[in-house]
C-alpha cells in the first residue's frame, strides 16, 4: 500500500543574519502510512516540529528548503506546490493541533464561531448549518453541553477543553492527516491521558492518519504504530513501535527509554543520555536516603484565601490552600504533587513569603517566618531559597549570568569583595556543570536545561539550608529532566539541603522524595512514604494520578 505522505531527504535550514545559516533538518526521510499513527520523537531542537510543519509549509520566513527534498502527498510534491494549492489543503485534507491551546484559539471569538469558520471556509456551509455541525463536532470531542458551549469564549474553558476544541476544528473537514505537535505537553497528566485517548478514538473512527510529535517516548508508546526518533536534525532510528520498545538499536533510543524515572525502581542516579552515548554505564545501586531527624523547617496549618470581588459590595473568598502541614529535616525531601490549581505553588509562595498567608505558621528552626517583618525576613532569605518552574522566565534577560549569580551575594554581603564573588560564581557554575565563559553571556543563549542549572546556581549562591523546587523539571524535555534531577540529588548529598519538591508528575516526585503529599483543590488528600502511596494508594484521586502516568508499551515495562 502506498504511504499517505512520503517525506524523502528533507533538508531545511534557517538564515541567521547576513551569512550564517543553521541546518535544522538534515536529510530526513519517513513515510506516514494510511490509517496509522506515526510519532516523531526527539528533544527540543531536534528538528521534529520543523520536519512536520514542512508538510504544510508552515515555516518561518527565514526557512530555506533544499530543492532536492521531496514531500509526496497523493502523487504531488507539496514542496513544489503553489501557495493557493497549499491553502486548499491546509485545514481540509491536512490539519494541525498545536501545543498551547490557549494561544492557538482567538480569545475574542466564541468557540462556536471559530469551529464554524473552518467549515464555512472549506465547505462553503451556510452560517446556521455550520453552527449545527460545530455543535456535533464539540459533542464528538467530548465537550459536555456542546450547544451551550458554542457561545463560550476560550478563556471560559479549561486547558483540556480548549485542546478538545482545537481538535474539533482540526477534524471538522475530515482530514486525511492530522498533525499533532506536542498536543498534551501543556496539560495536566490526567487531562493528557483523556486527550490521548480522544485522538486515538477519532483516528480510528475517521480512518485518518496522525503525525504525533512529542519529546516523551513513554507517551508515544501508548498511541503510535510507528516511531521515528530524531536528534540534531537527523533520524536516529525508525520502525514499528513494538520493535523500538522491545529491541531498540540506537543508543540514543535506549537512553530516551531509560531516562524517565520509573515507578518500580529507584536507582541511585537516573541514567542520562550521555551515559548511553558513551557506551552505557548504568548505576545498579539503589538510592539511599538519610533517616528522618529533627525538622529543619516545619509548616503548620498553612492557609491562604483570595478575596474575589464579584460585585460592588459583595466578595467571595477562594480557598487556595487549606490546612497544609509538613516538616522537613536536613538532607531530606518532601514531595508535593497535584494538578494545576491544586495550590501546591501557593504553598511554596507562602513559605517563601512571596505571598502573605491567611493563617498558620512556617517555622525555620525556632523562628516563625510568617510573623517576621520584611526587614527581619531579609536575613532569613539567605537560608531558604527557591527554584522556579519556568527557567525561561525566572532569569532576568537583561542581566548577564555573572551578574545574576553575584547579585544575591552582594545583597547578603557574602564574600569580601567582588573579586571573591566572581571566584565563587565561577565555582558555582562549575558545580552545576556549565562552562566558565557562561559568566559573560545572557540567559537566551542557553537551553532550558542549562538555564535551570543557572537558576539552581543562583539559589545556591547564598548557601541556603532549605531549597524549594517548584516544578523544576516540568518545562524541560524528558531527557534533560534526568540530568537536572541528578544534579539536585548530588547537591543534596553534598550540602545536606532540605528540599520541598513540587511537581505534577508523580513518577518524578516518587523518585525524589522521602514523604509525598498529594494535593487537590488546596487540600492534602493523601500523605505517606512514596513506596506506600505507589503500592497502595488510598484516595481515589491518587489512583487517578497513578493511572495517568505514561508507561510506554505494557510489554516493555514488565521485567
Amino acid at each position: 500500500m502506498t504511504p499517505l505522505v512520503a517525506v524523502a531527504n528533507l533538508r531545511v535550514s534557517f538564515r541567521l543574519g547576513r551569512e550564517r545559516t543553521l541546518e535544522a533538518v538534515r536529510g530526513v526521510s519517513f513515510d506516514i502510512r494510511q490509517d496509522a499513527t506515526l510519532a516523531l520523537v526527539g528533544e527540543s531542537g531536534s528538528g521534529k516540529t520543523v520536519s512536520a510543519m514542512s508538510i504544510l509549509r508552515l515555516l518561518p520566513e527565514n526557512a530555506i528548503v533544499d530543492p532536492a527534498s521531496r514531500i509526496v502527498y497523493g502523487g504531488e510534491n507539496l514542496l513544489a506546490a503553489p501557495p493557493g494549492r497549499l491553502r486548499a489543503l491546509r485545514g481540509r485534507e491536512i490539519s494541525a493541533v498545536f501545543q498551547e491551546p490557549m494561544s492557538s484559539l482567538n480569545p475574542v471569538l466564541t468557540v462556536g464561531e471559530q469551529v464554524a469558520e473552518v467549515l464555512r471556509l472549506h465547505r462553503r456551509m451556510a452560517p446556521r448549518q455550520a453552527l449545527e455541525r460545530a455543535a456535533e463536532l464539540l459533542a464528538e470531542v467530548g465537550i459536555p453541553e456542546p450547544r451551550a458551549r458554542l457561545r463560550a469564549y476560550p478563556h471560559e474553558l479549561s486547558g483540556g477543553q480548549q485542546q478538545r476544541v482545537m481538535i474539533a476544528m482540526a477534524i471538522a473537514n475530515e482530514p486525511k492527516l492530522l498533525i499533532a505537535d506536542e498536543p498534551t505537553t501543556a496539560l495536566d497528566v490526567t487531562v493528557q491521558r483523556q486527550v490521548l485517548e480522544l485522538i486515538a478514538r477519532l483516528r480510528e473512527r475517521h480512518r485518518m492518519s496522525v503525525l504525533f510529535i512529542s519529546h516523551d517516548l513513554g507517551l508515544v508508546g501508548e498511541i503510535a504504530d510507528d516511531v521515528v526518533v530524531m536528534r540534531e536534525g537527523e533520524v536516529r532510528e525508525s520502525g514499528p513501535t513494538e520493535r523500538i520498545f522491545s529491541a531498540p538499536q540506537d543508543p540514543y533510543t535506549r537512553a530516551l527509554l531509560a531516562c524517565r524515572p520509573r515507578l518500580d525502581a529507584r536507582p541511585r542516579r537516573l541514567p542520562v543520555i550521555d551515559d548511553f552515548m558513551r557506551g552505557g554505564a548504568t548505576t545498579g545501586t539503589t538510592l539511599e536516603r538519610p533517616p528522618a531527624s529533627a525538622n529543619l523547617i516545619e509548616a503548620k496549618h498553612l492557609r491562604k484565601e483570595f478575596r474575589l470581588r464579584i460585585g460592588w459590595f459583595a466578595s467571595r473568598s477562594l480557598h487556595a490552600v487549606r490546612d497544609v502541614s509538613f516538616g522537613i529535616s536536613r538532607g531530606r525531601t518532601v514531595g508535593l504533587v497535584g494538578e494545576s490549581g491544586s495550590g501546591k505553588t501557593t504553598v511554596a509562595m507562602l513559605v517563601m513569603r512571596l505571598l502573605e498567608a491567611s493563617g498558620g505558621e512556617a517555622r525555620l528552626e525556632d523562628t516563625d517566618l510568617l510573623r517576621l517583618s520584611p526587614a527581619q525576613m531579609m536575613a532569613f532569605r539567605r537560608r531558604i531559597q527557591i527554584v522556579f518552574q519556568n527557567p525561561y522566565a525566572s532569569l532576568n534577560p537583561r542581566l548577564s549570568i555573572g551578574r545574576s549569580l553575584m547579585e544575591p551575594m552582594r545583597i547578603h554581603r557574602l564574600g569580601a569583595d567582588d573579586a571573591e564573588r566572581v571566584e565563587q560564581a565561577r565555582r558555582l557554575l562549575q558545580r552545576v556543570g556549565l562552562p566558565q565563559d557562561a559568566m559573560h553571556r545572557y540567559p537566551h543563549e542557553f537551553s532550558g536545561g542549562q538555564r535551570q542549572r543557572i537558576a539552581i546556581a543562583r539559589a545556591l549562591a547564598v548557601e541556603p539550608e532549605v531549597l524549594i523546587c517548584d516544578e523544576p523539571v516540568s518545562a524541560l524535555d524528558v531527557s534533560v529532566q534526568a540530568t537536572v534531577l541528578n544534579l539536585l540529588l548530588d547537591l543534596q548529598e553534598e550540602r545536606g539541603l532540605a528540599y520541598l519538591f513540587i511537581s505534577h508528575d508523580l513518577a518524578v516526585v516518587k523518585y525524589m522524595s522521602d514523604e509525598v503529599l498529594v494535593m487537590r483543590e488546596g487540600e492534602v488528600v493523601e500523605r505517606g512514604a512514596p513506596e506506600a502511596i505507589y503500592r497502595d494508594p488510598q484516595h481515589e484521586y491518587t489512583r487517578k494520578l497513578l493511572a495517568a502516568i505514561p508507561r510506554g508499551l505494557a510489554r516493555a515495562e514488565s521485567p
Partner: protein, 339 residues
C-alpha cells in the same frame, strides 16, 4: 558599553544616524561657545538678500521708475508755528557729531537673508541650538517624571496607584494647550518669574510638566506586567529590595519602551516649541529658534521669499529623522536577544 558600541556599528543606518546626531551636537556646542553663528543677529545683507546660488535678483525699489519714489515741490515753511523750530539747529549739530556708518551689505548671502538682512544660515544654526536644547531637555525631564511615577504606580499598585492615577487624570482632563497657557502665565508673572528669567528653561518646564502623562501610562502598564514575572519574584526571593527590583531588574527590561517613547517626545516637543514660539509663549524675542523662524517664514512666503522656511525645515527634518533612527538602532543594540 563596549559591546553596545560594537553592535551599534554593525547597524549601518544606526551608524549614519549617530554621525548626523553627533554632528548636530558638535554644531550646537560650537554655537553655544560662540565659535559659529555668534553674529546671527547682525544685519549683514540687504533685506531679503537672495541665496548666493540664485545670484542677485532685481529688488522691488529698482523696479520702480526713477524718481517715482520722491514727491516733487518744496515743503512750506512752518517755522513760525512750529514750537520745535528753535531746536532744529541744535539737533542738526548734534547729529553731525555722531558718526553713522552703514555696514557693508551684500546683495546675496549663502542661504539668503531675512527681512532685516540677517544671515538665514546663521539663524538656522543658532536656532538648532535653542530648539534641540529645549526638545531634548524637556523630553528627558518628562521621561524622568513619567518613568518614576509610572514605576511607583505600576509596581506598588493599590493606594499609590490610585493617587497617581488621580494626578494623571487631573493633568489629562485639562485641554493641553490651555494647560500650557496657564503654566506659562504662572511662570511668567508669578513669584517664579525671576527664577526662569532666561526664558528657555521656562519652555522646558512647561513642556515637561504637561508632557509626562503618556510616558507615565506606558511605564505603569509595563511595570504591572513585569512585577509578577518570575524573574522579579526570584529577585525578591534572594532578598532584593523593592527599589532594586524596580530599577535594577525591571527597568532594563522596559527600557526599549521608554527609549521609543523618548524619541517620540523629542520630536513632539520640538514641534510644540515651534507652536509656542509662534504664539509668543516660547523663547524670548532676542533669541532665535526653528519655531520663530517658521513663524517669520509665514509672512515671507507670501512675497516669494522661501529660503528661511527651507532652512528651518531642512535642519529640523534631518535632525528629527536621524534622531528617530538612532533611538531605533539603540533599542535593538540594547536588546540582548538580538545579539
Amino acid at each position: 558599553m563596549e559591546t553596545l558600541w560594537s553592535r551599534l556599528r554593525q547597524d549601518r543606518i544606526g551608524t549614519i544616524s549617530l554621525g548626523i546626531v553627533l554632528a548636530y551636537l558638535a554644531l550646537i556646542l560650537a554655537a553655544a561657545l560662540g565659535l559659529v553663528s555668534a553674529g546671527w543677529n547682525r544685519e549683514v545683507g540687504l533685506p531679503y538678500a537672495t541665496p548666493s546660488l540664485l545670484g542677485v535678483q532685481p529688488s522691488l525699489e529698482a523696479a520702480l521708475p526713477a524718481g517715482a519714489a520722491r514727491p516733487r515741490g518744496t515743503s512750506p515753511d512752518l517755522s513760525a508755528v512750529d514750537p520745535l523750530a528753535p531746536k532744529y539747529a541744535e539737533w542738526a549739530r548734534r547729529t553731525a557729531e555722531l558718526e553713522v556708518s552703514e555696514p557693508e551689505r551684500s546683495a546675496t548671502l549663502p542661504w539668503g537673508g531675512d527681512r532685516w538682512g540677517r544671515d538665514v544660515l546663521d539663524k538656522a544654526v543658532k536656532g538648532s541650538q535653542v530648539s534641540i536644547a529645549v526638545g531634548v531637555a524637556a523630553a528627558l525631564f518628562a521621561t524622568l517624571i513619567g518613568t518614576l511615577l509610572g514605576a511607583f504606580a505600576g509596581f506598588y499598585g493599590g493606594k499609590t496607584n490610585d493617587f497617581l492615577e488621580w494626578l494623571y487624570n487631573v493633568f489629562t482632563s485639562v485641554p493641553g494647550i490651555l494647560l500650557v497657557f496657564a503654566l506659562a502665565a504662572v511662570l511668567r508673572s508669578g513669584g517664579l518669574s525671576k527664577v526662569f528669567a532666561s526664558g528657555i528653561w521656562m519652555v522646558v518646564i512647561i513642556l515637561a510638566v504637561t508632557g509626562w502623562t503618556g510616558m507615565y501610562r506606558l511605564v505603569r502598564a509595563e511595570y504591572m506586567k513585569h512585577r509578577s514575572r518570575e524573574y522579579v519574584l526570584a529577585a525578591q526571593a534572594i532578598g532584593a529590595s523593592a527599589g532594586s527590583r524596580m530599577f535594577v531588574h525591571i527597568l532594563p527590561n522596559v527600557g526599549h519602551v521608554i527609549l521609543v517613547q523618548l524619541s517620540l517626545l523629542v520630536v513632539a516637543f520640538i514641534k510644540v516649541e515651534v507652536i509656542l514660539s509662534f504664539l509668543g509663549l516660547g523663547v524670548p524675542v532676542d533669541m532665535v529658534s526653528w519655531g520663530t523662524m517658521l513663524s517669520e517664514a509665514q509672512t515671507e512666503l507670501v512675497i516669494g521669499k522661501w529660503w528661511q522656511l527651507a532652512a528651518a525645515t531642512v535642519f529640523m527634518a534631518v535632525f528629527l529623522t536621524a534622531f528617530s533612527m538612532l533611538t531605533d538602532s539603540l533599542r535593538d543594540a540594547l536588546d540582548p536577544k538580538l545579539r
